[in-house]
Subunit: 237 residues, 2 copies
């Protein structure tokens, strides 16, 4: 937690914030070992970042005297990430990684090789997803929450959603064996599609290429989804 993220209702005034949620209080006590007088970095959800002084800390709340929270959050990556739904534990970690890296639009997609049971996981409950996004923001000192969309059918996604997503974006389909190496250091708005463990099936690859995506690869090594997504984002942007 490199930033204490304040919901707007945590602000008692421009200059006073009150944090009551148990996870952050525990982190302040046990990891930061914070004491009144310590200066810490805070940010308002969807807003600015700055410093504050810890005034009080007990088991139920922490209060902070705030400086102006007027620094902007770090820039976002110009990417909409479409990720075949990973298994639950991998999903949790991947949401944290990509949020910390600055992704702001995430679509979780069903594909042939996604196990249907993954869609029943409690990790997909909005509060669970929100929590992983918050952890990513707090890690990277960001305040802007990514939007996460669930697409439970591949064909409706392909036919109804993909054309709109590709308008004004370069579509990149990351898949082993594609012809082109992943490009480096691009700044173009991008739609990045990443398959599940085991990959997209050939029919899905064919349809995504027909829809206008370019196939790219990361080399001969087969990577876990969380490793591959981080590597793709770091190489692309």
């Amino acid at each position: 937690m490199n930033l204490i993220l304040l919901a707007p209702e945590a602000l008692e005034s421009d200059r006073l914030a009150r944090v009551t949620d148990p996870r952050r209080l525990r982190h302040l006590r046990e990891v930061h070992r914070a004491r009144p007088g310590d200066r810490l970095t805070l940010g308002i959800m969807e807003g600015g970042i700055g410093q504050g002084e810890l005034l009080t800390l007990d088991d139920h709340e922490a209060t902070f005297a705030l400086d102006a929270l007027d620094q902007p959050p770090p820039p976002a990556l110009p990417v909409h990430l479409v990720l075949a739904l990973p298994r639950p534990r991998m999903l949790a970690r991947t949401l944290e990684h990509v949020t910390a890296l600055g992704v702001k639009q995430i679509t979780l997609l069903h594909t042939r090789r996604v196990e249907k049971s993954y869609w029943m996981s409690p990790e997909l409950e909005p509060e669970k997803i929100h929590r992983h996004l918050e952890l990513g923001l707090e890690q990277a000192r960001d305040t802007r929450l990514p939007a996460v969309t669930l697409e439970k059918g591949f064909r409706p996604f392909l036919e109804d959603r993909l054309p709109g997503l590709l308008a004004g974006r370069r579509g990149l389909l990351a898949h082993p064996g594609m012809a082109a190496a992943c490009p480096r250091g691009i700044e173009t708005p991008t739609l990045l599609l990443v398959g599940p463990e085991g990959g997209f099936i050939p029919w899905e690859v064919e349809k995504l290429l027909e829809a206008g995506c370019e196939g790219i690869h990361l080399g001969p090594r087969i990577l876990r989804v969380e490793t591959a997504v981080t590597a793709l984002l770091a190489r692309l942007f």
Copy 2:
């Protein structure tokens, strides 16, 4: 497990292998749901890769009829990674990520902000480390095991080991706030140094720069060690 890694003693002959370790047998049964007749990818530790046919599978062993295991493993990255020892769970995952990405030399280093208790973790036992390296190799279909060295003192590392490691290698110190952005797509032999959560202390940064390392950064976002290491390797190579 995209490759079944065979210790040399698993080879009964050029053409017959016997796998007995419980983890791989369980994976074959429960994840691959393998049956006699299935063709799978196998590799010999430090050797070649090829296909084999599963002949028998029960609770105690699997036997394979091997084709020629004559494909080379994928190329290694030209990097020696020096990583401040992360906390145990992060260490486990980071070893898997970097092994899958193709790192072959890893030094785990003590720095001021590494908690001393981490050096007592069972994750540092050679068999535990070996297991994480194997998982990384099996993920990426590689057979060449990274060498892992433990350096429990920063000053002895700095004075006795670093000059040798920098001979013939470009030293890159990844640290927030350094002047240069992480370079992209280099092919030079590299020594990459990555600090702990909380970073190197200023004195350590100063000494590493004095020793000839170049400071590089990944931008304004503070990343977890496992995310940062993957991002650095993907951007550098």
